[in-house]
Assembly symmetry: C2
Homo-oligomer: 621 residues x 2
């Protein structure tokens, strides 16, 4: 069934636009001397149909409310995306020749430095999870009619993250989501596993409950018809499985191996390709009319003020629990807050939020990659997503975290069950590398509260902060040591013990702060006075206070953390003061830990009060 | 079709063994005060059939050659696994009550500290990729008849890694692999998405080309019959989709939500459960006869000596290319070397090995998680797997790397295309957090060669080293600066420039080593003498040389690295010397980078010779 509006003249126009996109992709990559023209050519017809007939959007304002969204998951086809927006009129076509240069944001793979990119792509298999987030937002949060299109490569459809997204999209019946797979048969170094076995593709997607449509991806009538069928399909997402040829339209490139990621050499070869493509233009055609989005009738409500912390000094609560309490509280005053879980909501306490705000809570089941991608998609729609799971399991989604950092995504990650202090479950459940992985990414704020009051306030600060935030939360109960009025600005710290004759500064956070306080008392009893700093903000770090403390305590710092030794709190302190000749000693978990009782493990792995006292005595000797 | 050997008496025995496993799982978790008895009970019949009838193995020697392998992917059912091995006779049943204590290796989730565990589990979705590796080894490398069984939970089957493994197992026609899904309907915090919709499970697995058998997972006749059918199925792997009930056999737990991860309280409640289970024992039964494995007739060939490096001073080669050359060379002299690729073999140069040794090379397509899991499986079979991809894409498999580190797996990871020096492809393709993520894991050796000679020798050292190794390799060509006879012991470094009047030690590796050498010459021309250290071994680190150098250069070090600032080479140096009052200044990539020319980016992001010269002048001021 062809779209009723699909006249022969419009078909000609879409064909000519596709040809133009091919020519511009070839020219830009040849000029750059690198890039993926063959991967652009296979998808040019699909992109032409989407940009010049199917999608409703404002070509002058990619962020116009209720616009259809397009995610280029096969990010190496970036020149095709850039050419489409240039042809739509967003920027001059001449800009395309600045591809991949330091002075242009038309980079090798798309990033949100460009206004029409929701999330950086280029690490494959990430577009569909992002599309799931954008579609969840439209269906459940903003309740808008916009549709989301995700263009994937065939090779990348092996990535497990794609199948996580497939299952969740089906579960949430995302009929506003349409995936397209550009089945061009050839990977980078080999043909793909399924090559052009379109029935095998259909079996996989149908098996996952999707409406699967197989088409010739160079037949514009079939392409437009498939998009119409997708739009009419209710209750489940649609995937268009498009059989295409890599390098389509250029005889020496089409369906040939060894053209992956290679530009056509500038000069004679490029001219040959351009000439060949130019001959494919057809006469006649019609004016392109891009359908405009229907603006939403309501604006989001302004955020209110979070109530005071319900905790008082002397209470006892795990920081993970205080996070759950804070999330529920901020959710009540800010409609932009959404939350995502991966089947641990009764452990991370996000279930409190979920029960209160079911339309803003997304159970992502045991599929952490999709959870992160969906969160980034929701953030691209203006939401403030809190994503919580065991800190250890964020390692499962590290590539998504990396790409979210590249995108400057406004997502808030909360990792619970950190360190050996979780106890009996053993090393597989202990988050011991989370600070290393999060702090490595530029622009990610890393917070590590020790008590319920600071957790509560830091959740508020995380939500208010523009950009990625990671908050580290523990499993065991901890005493509340701060009054409800205490402030915890990002980048600050608290000197919780200090005296005139301090000979050492101990820097800690989380469970080790309380060990440091015990050690402080034991050392005091032995006549040794030490300072104790609660380093609740790891990135950015309170360099001024750390230097002041160190200089007041004979240039000595002892850090102690329930984290592995490399890349944790101690290294953050070293990074801040290491150029100043301060002596920094680190206590951290240095071997693969073991099951056991929490307090037993804290002691056994050398981060408890006993080890702190011993280290302190050794240092001041 | 029931197995012909399945007599009514044997059925009774298997039923009674399952009951015993349930009782022991209940007792052990009640004694520990934590754990997952409900998840053990659902799978007890399956495990009984496997351990006491189906699998060929030596209960006194889990590593006996050609034994069938069992991977418990749902690691939280560890007590069931432990009970099965105890009942098989490997260790006394009384040990089971030491579950989850610091002095027993019967941890909360299984680790290879136990001789019958091939790979730590407990992070879900990892067992099938490991099973793929074990099955690849049997089919293609060792050519043995042993079979591999992987028991998964239903909740974990949403993890994308499962579907990566499903696709690859089909591609390699692993008919020696049998997955079992314990479809017990209940996740941790909610029912699973598909609950008991067995047809939906079947559609997914059949859609991926597997032989899918749906059974009642508590019907031992059906279970044994399904394993027989699996063994008879040729050309494709089999999945047994077993409909079960969580907490099976205990009336107050069976199919009840809110019993995930909860032990039955010791005392009256536990006794009630044990009494109820005890009543389920049936009279009669027969002796258990565990079929023994057939030992292989040939032993692996002894490894030979790798030839000398083909590179000489003055040559030019990328370290990634030298890695490919070295891998091929060591592959020729050591039959235990295998290699895995994720569709970038023409970029990482593993294609050289692949062409020469096709039976030991596994194209893993764009599915990095499965690649890592399969490598760990191969390592568990005594192979030395080299796993190579772009360093950035190891982030996709960080949870597998974490679990491999917990397992002390003997895998060798090679990350190419590190840093901004890859150029035009942009940030998504740049490995800039790889040192942070690898070095964070205890026991992982991290190597970072700068030229082809050192790369060649470090590949040899990596293969010889028992344990995980990460080798960081670059994209651009680099001059060869070491002669073929130079030695590069793990944990060493090279002082490549030094003089009597050095005022600063510059520590670098990879592309920045050459920038440091340029800076050295420019500073020398300006009358400033600096020392330059090639830190080719990041973990372990040559603390002695670093301290010697720093103390000879006025206590000053400047590190420079093509890596983000947190958790990289600079932090490793700080970690080594930070307690000694040495002043360490770091140059690193501090923002999300951009596309551009390699040399332009190295300069622009502050890690080139210009920045080094400026920093050096500033430091010595």
């Amino acid at each position: 069934m062809a779209s009723p509006s699909l006249t022969p003249d419009l078909l000609t126009t879409l064909h000519n636009k596709a040809t133009t996109l091919r020519i511009e992709s070839v020219r830009a990559t040849s000029e750059a001397g690198s890039g993926h023209p063959s991967s652009c050519c296979s998808a040019a017809d699909i992109v032409s149909a989407l940009f010049f007939h199917v999608m409703r959007y404002d070509p002058k304002n990619p962020k116009a409310p209720n616009s259809d969204r397009f995610v280029l998951s096969k990010g190496h086809a970036a020149p095709l995306l850039y050419a489409a927006w240039a042809e739509a009129g967003l920027f001059p076509v001449s800009e395309l020749l600045k591809l991949r240069t330091l002075t242009s944001d038309l980079e090798g793979h798309p990033t949100p430095r460009l206004p029409f990119v929701d999330m950086a792509t280029g690490s494959l298999g990430q577009g569909l999870p992002v599309g799931v987030g954008i579609a969840l937002d439209a269906k459940f949060v903003d309740k808008l009619s916009r549709r989301t299109y995700v263009l994937m490569g065939d090779g990348e459809s092996v990535e497990g993250s794609v199948w996580e997204a497939a299952e969740i999209a089906r579960q949430y019946a995302l009929d506003n989501l349409c995936a397209i797979i550009d089945v061009n048969r050839l990977g980078q170094s080999d043909p793909t596993m399924l090559q052009h076995d379109m029935d095998a593709y259909r079996a996989r997607w149908s098996g996952f409950g999707w409406h699967a449509i197989v088409i010739d991806g160079h037949d514009l009538t079939a392409i437009v018809s498939a998009f119409s069928k997708a739009a009419e399909t209710k209750g489940r997402p649609t995937v268009i499985l498009a059989k295409t040829f890599k390098g389509r339209g250029i005889s020496f490139m089409e369906d040939h191996a060894n053209w992956h990621g290679k530009p056509i050499p500038k000069g004679e070869d490029m001219q040959k390709a351009v000439d060949e493509l130019t001959k494919q233009f057809k006469p006649n055609g019609t004016q392109v009319v891009i359908p405009k989005p229907v603006p939403p009738t309501t604006a989001p409500a302004a955020a209110g003020t979070m109530p005071a912390s319900p905790y008082k000094i002397g209470d006892s609560a795990a920081t993970r629990e205080a996070f759950g309490v804070a999330l529920e509280a901020i959710g009540a005053v800010n409609q932009q807050i959404v939350a995502l879980d991966a089947d641990v909501k009764n452990s991370t306490y996000t279930e409190k939020f979920g029960k209160k705000f079911p339309n803003r809570f997304f159970e992502s089941f045991i599929a952490e990659q999709n959870m992160l991608g969906a969160a980034a998609g929701l953030a691209a729609c203006g939401k403030i997503p809190f994503v919580a799971t065991f800190a250890a399991f964020f390692t499962r989604a590290y590539d998504f975290i990396r790409m979210a950092a590249i995108s400057g995504s406004n997502i808030k990650l909360v990792g619970t069950h950190v360190g050996v202090s979780i106890g009996e479950d053993g090393p597989s459940q202990m988050g011991l590398e989370d600070i290393a992985m999060m702090a490595a990414q530029p622009g990610v704020t890393v917070l590590y509260p020790s008590d319920a009051t600071s957790t509560y306030r830091l959740v508020e600060a995380a939500a208010a902060h523009k950009g990625m935030v990671y908050l580290r939360a523990g499993r065991p109960k901890a005493p509340v040591i701060y009054g409800a009025d205490e402030r915890f600005p990002i980048g600050g710290s608290k000197v919780v013990r200090h005296g005139q004759s301090d000979v050492l500064t101990i820097v800690a956070a989380g469970v080790t702060l309380f060990e440091a306080l015990k050690a402080h008392d034991q050392l005091k009893a032995a006549g040794i006075s030490v300072r104790v700093v609660d380093l609740y903000s790891i990135v950015p770090i309170d360099r001024t206070t750390l230097l002041d403390c160190a200089r007041s305590t004979q240039g000595r710092i002892l850090t102690v953390e329930d984290h592995y030794a490399h890349g944790g709190l101690g290294d953050s302190v070293l990074g801040a003061v290491g150029a100043e000749g301060i002596r920094v000693h680190k206590l951290a978990v240095r071997v693969i830990p073991h099951s056991g009782k929490p307090e037993e493990l804290v002691d056994h792995f050398g981060i408890g009060a006993r080890s702190i006292v011993e280290a302190a005595k050794q240092i001041i000797k």
